[in-house]
Amino acid sequence: MQESDLKSRKISQGSRQCLILLLSITCLFVLQAVLRPGSVTLAQGMNISRQASTLGIVVLGQTLVILTGGIDLSVGSIVTITNVFAVSYMKGQDENFFTAVLVCAGIGLAAGAVNAIGVLKLKIAPFVMTLCTSTMLQGIYLVYTGGSPSGNVSPSLKQIGNGLCAGVIPYPTLIWTALAVLLWIALSYTPFGRYTYAVGENPDAAGLCGISVDRIKISAYLLSSLFAVAAGLLASGYIGTTSLSLGNDYITNSLAVVLIGGNSIEGGKGGVWGGFLGAFLLMLLFALLTMVHVGQAGKLVIQGVIIFAVVFGQRYGLGRKG
């Protein structure tokens, strides 16, 4: 009885968040239609979804880590290092595609493992450990490229990054949606999902109930790194070449989106679809800001204010209930 109460409350909270986000997205589209009549088209929406897809995939991983009560600040560097190694192994040839993907996945798993070991075995605070990993990865890709990378991705990856499925939906959007559905199923209908929520809500109680807390947290960090690798590959496909600044925005952006999506920074609360809509909302907002000639500076300010305001709002809401 109580369990079903709990579940229904969680679901209703989640769907309320999604409703708010959908409403905000609609408002932004209406605003855009007012500012630039005729600019709201399906193609434009799909374009924004393509831009949101890499961020959205990173967010899926970040959501998992934050659900378990941690934080992953290494996602940005993982995106960049994936880009660097993918390009360097592909050398613009399709036959090297799978080698490159395997190498990148290996790097991602290694980074995730370092995060997990630092956080769980060495008991270092998650944000310090993941920042450390981030710095080390940065060092590795800077040494590897000597600071000036070059090269191109293989044509097939470029096709995936830029192409449209059935002439309408970009491939990255499809992959993003597929991954989101998979994660949603895993979180909602498998023991892994229930354990993840339990660990985030109260690790001690979860441990006493016989859940292997460490195993859940390790898989969260590993999956987060793998999602970042996937995002890095898609982003590489989209830009077609390499860039050392590719991953810069992902840390604060992913954090902002996870928080907009209704996840609690303390863990144990949130879901997949809030982040899914949140990523789209953030990219739509940025597109609108570009439309009204707000530069990078303004976007950064707005991003910072969003992160702070959302957490503040959660606090205020929780405080009133308590």
Binding site: V128, G139, V143, I307, V311, F312
Partner: protein, 326 residues
């Protein structure tokens, strides 16, 4: 009963501070033996001047960490300070330099104050508050100066960079800031209160410590330290740079951790942090002299931080065991 009142500066961590200074000496002595140019007065002065910005900003970070918080925004504060300095201090007149100084310090302490209010009044976790402050401030820096540029008054810059042998104005500033903070942390009620709220906010509050005010003050102190660091960097480069401070956030945390400050709050030494900052600076300098690709510094810093945390956690465990008599 007599050992209930533990003065912070007599706690056992003083031993670990001595160890870091010893390590510093070993690194220095090793390099001095290997390379004759290394032990020249000129180079020693150089190393000191290079390490000072990190040392100053890390002292502010240490105070925030001791008080149980964390400040990720110090890097962005430094960038913003150099930008403000480069825009407002372009002429050599006393009014322009004085006005610029005032604006830089006001802006950085204001940012620190907002951090403090966000953490204490809005109850947003320190990491999130200062991360969003970092993002906002890097936006503001970009708005002030889209690219590195502007101009810092030559008279002011020359004065700040004045050097005679190993002595320099920046060293003097470091010593002044250190003495001020030392006075505040170990010879006033403020210091005891900072250690108290870092150890346990609830207990500190019930003992009559004004938790909110003290915590806000720690963030303001970190802001001022970041502002001073920004001024030093601006006078070294003679321009402003909106991304110059990026690495200082993590580096200052690393310096604090190496210096024996626990990231859980409530323990640490400002003097240890200076040693930590110098250790980072000297190791980077050493790698340059040995001809190691300077990008390896990123890897080195990460490893240093992890190593420091592991060593301290082991030594803490040992100490607990010793006290328990096992």
């Amino acid at each position: 009963m007599s050992n209930i009142r533990i003065k912070p500066f007599r706690n056992p961590k003083v031993g670990s501070v001595a160890v870091i200074y010893g390590l510093l000496l070993v690194v220095f002595a090793g390099m001095a033996v290997v390379s004759p140019s290394y032990r020249s007065i000129e180079n020693i002065g150089n190393i000191i001047v290079q390490c000072i910005p990190l040392a100053i900003v890390s002292m502010g970070q240490t105070i925030v960490i001791i008080g149980g918080g964390i400040d990720m925004s110090v890097g962005a504060m430094i960038s913003m300070s150099t930008c403000i300095a480069a825009v407002t201090m372009s002429s050599d007149s006393a009014v322009s330099v004085g006005g610029g100084l005032a604006r830089v310090l006001l802006a950085s302490s204001g940012a620190g104050l907002l951090n403090g209010l966000g953490v204490n009044s809005c109850k947003v976790p320190p990491l999130i508050t200062t991360l969003s402050m970092m993002t906002v401030l890097s936006g503001i820096s970009l708005a002030i100066l889209p690219q590195a540029g502007g101009r810092v008054s030559k008279v002011f810059a020359d004065f700040m960079m004045l050097r005679a042998g190993v002595l320099s104005v920046s060293l003097l500033i470091l010593i002044c800031v250190y003495l001020l903070l030392r006075r505040a942390m170990y010879h006033s009620g403020f210091g005891n209160a900072v250690y108290a709220i870092g150890n346990h906010q609830g207990i500190a509050a019930s003992m009559g410590v004004k938790v909110k005010r003290i915590s806000i003050l720690t963030y303001v102190a970190a802001g001022v330290c970041a502002g001073v660091t920004g001024l030093l960097l601006a006078s070294r480069m003679r321009i402003g740079d909106p991304v110059i401070g990026t690495s200082f956030g993590l580096d200052s945390i690393t310096a604090s951790a190496i210096g024996g400050t626990s990231l859980n709050g409530g323990e640490g030494q400002v003097s240890g942090t200076i040693a930590g900052a110098f250790l980072i600076g000297m190791l980077s300098n050493m790698m340059n002299i040995l001809g190691v690709n300077h990008f390896y510094q990123y890897v080195l810093k990460g490893i240093l931080l992890v190593a420091a945390m592991i060593i301290y956690s082991i030594s803490n465990t040992l100490e607990v065991k010793r006290h328990a008599g096992i």
